[in-house]
């Protein structure tokens, strides 16, 4: 397979990825815009693969070594920070799900409560 054919295949792959990217996101609720931005941010941390390929080369000169090392540092920060920040954001959102007030206005039932149970109504 020639270099040109390889390129043709790569471009085909690129085009499919463009359509797929658009389709998947097409109907996302406003609520998720920020976490989704952050999640895709983590995904483009995939440049770490490129950084590893450069930094991992044997017999390289000083410039390549330094540039490769810095690229790995930056890409790793992107990957780890990206996924962790996204997870923290989504953890916040998730808290919303359980809810449901057992309406324990004055029944003093607080003692018997399991702390791992879904949210307890705010009746402090």
């Amino acid at each position: 397979m020639s270099h040109g054919l390889l390129l043709a295949f790569e471009v085909t792959i690129l085009v499919l990825a463009i359509f797929l990217g658009f389709e998947v996101i097409s109907k996302v609720p406003t609520l998720l815009h920020t976490p989704l931005m952050s999640g895709t941010n983590a995904i483009h941390g995939i440049v770490i693969v490129g950084a590893m390929l450069v930094a991992g080369l044997g017999h390289k000169d000083t410039l390549t070594t330094v540039v490769g090392l810095v690229a790995v540092v930056l890409a790793s920060a992107n990957v780890v920070g990206g996924f962790v920040v996204t997870d923290r954001m989504l953890e916040m959102f998730r808290k919303r799900e359980p809810a449901k007030t057992p309406a324990a206005a004055a029944d003093g039932g607080a003692a018997g409560r399991d702390p791992s149970k879904p949210e307890v109504p705010p009746t402090q």
């Binding site: 390129l7 790569e10 792959i13 990825a17 463009i18 797929l20 990217g21 996101i25 406003t30 815009h33 920020t34 976490p35 931005m37 999640g39 895709t40 941010n41 983590a42 483009h44 941390g45 995939i46 440049v47 770490i48 693969v49 490129g50 950084a51 590893m52 390929l53 450069v54 991992g56 080369l57 044997g58 000169d61 390549t64 070594t65 540039v67 490769g68 090392l69 810095v70 690229a71 790995v72 540092v73 930056l74 890409a75 790793s76 920060a77 992107n78 920070g81 990206g82 920040v85 997870d87 989504l90 916040m92 959102f93 808290k95 919303r96 809810a99 206005a105 949210e119 705010p122 009746t123």
Partner: protein, 463 residues
Amino acid sequence: MGRVATDFAYLATIVAFILALKFLSHPATARRGNWIGAVGMLIAIGVTFAQKSVVSYWEILVGMAVGGSFGAVAARRVKMTAMPQMVALFNGVGGGAAALISLAEFHVLAPDPGRLHGDISVSIILSALIGSISFAGSMVAFAKLQELIQGRPIVYLGQQAVNGLLIAAVVAAGVAIVAGAEKQWLIVALILGALLFGVLFVLPIGGADMPVVISLLNAFTGIAAAATGFELENNVLIVSGMLVGASGTLLTILMGRAMNRSIANVLFGAFGQVTPQAAATAATDGGTVRSASAEDVAVMLAYAHKVVFVPGYGLAVAQAQHDVRQLADLLEQKGVEVSYAIHPVAGRMPGHMNVLLAEANVPYPQLEEMDEANSEFSRTDVALVVGANDVVNPDARNNQGSPIYGMPILNVDQANAVVVLKRSMNPGFAGIENPLFYNPKTVMLFGDAKDSITKLIADVKTL
């Protein structure tokens, strides 16, 4: 691991990322989606380690330890309210990494001019150019949001012309390289020019528009990563990068649409400048503003049947979410029905209010989205607007000349009474006057939102 096995293994990463995106697009599965993405990334890293050409393990491991621990610590430590600048930071470093990879590849592949395949040199240029813009732009966005530099748009005469000339020069350098002038200094100059352009491009954009800009730069980094994939003939980079490039572009458009603004307006409109005529109209309205004391408002609240809290950017600034929750609990104990009306673009990032209120453990069923909330204002006694302004501006509904005309708003003016908590008569993000404040139904409770709420809590308790 041979080339073919590597490519098949990377396919697992590609599938994981596609699933991650699909899951991230639905509230119920979003968190799982993020995890699937992380697993995909781990696979890609493992596969890359196993590649024959990768021999210097230590450099990679040291780099990962440094970068990874910085990322982990920063991401863990950051306050929820500072999320947008964190995302900007991580986006920027990703773009920077893409640019550096291209620099190194160029250095390795092109010791003599005229040796590169056309598609390889084009992708090196694109990745260096776009990655650098994304890096510099993200850093400016970070600095603006972190208030290291002034958030207001920085504008001067001939700005667009300067930017245009700069980008033209950078592109010319790129064309020269592709044409065969494969000189080191040319690509270094190109990167420096792109960095400067990134700075100049983001400076004139207002701090509050930063989430949209970050989303755009996010797409940029994705495209830079895809270009890196062409350089290295690596499918996982091409697909993953382009998925982010495409989905990020669409997300940027959707974010703009949620604010009823075009992307061009966000990028070049310098929205949020001090507009003199907006301030001028303040007095002309002729209406009077009624200001109330905390005691008065406490009485209104305590004797209401239904109170709706309308949080906005001021709530985030004042960090009053925990106090608001406390006040709401207190009112509930007194038998008042309480809910929160969440506008999709209240605050400075999509979902901002949800994150803040979730942090304060507000029960989910009390959060109401815009449509739901709007159907209930007519039977609401008091709408308590806490640091919101544009999202409750009736001009968006009534005044065709208003810059925010057409944006869907929360119709608090349909409630029996409206209380607005803010520090002054200053406008909000859009920089425009709000007739709601002159509505006879409305009373203003001036002061920092946190202070005002604390006072209200104390006063309600005494009733």
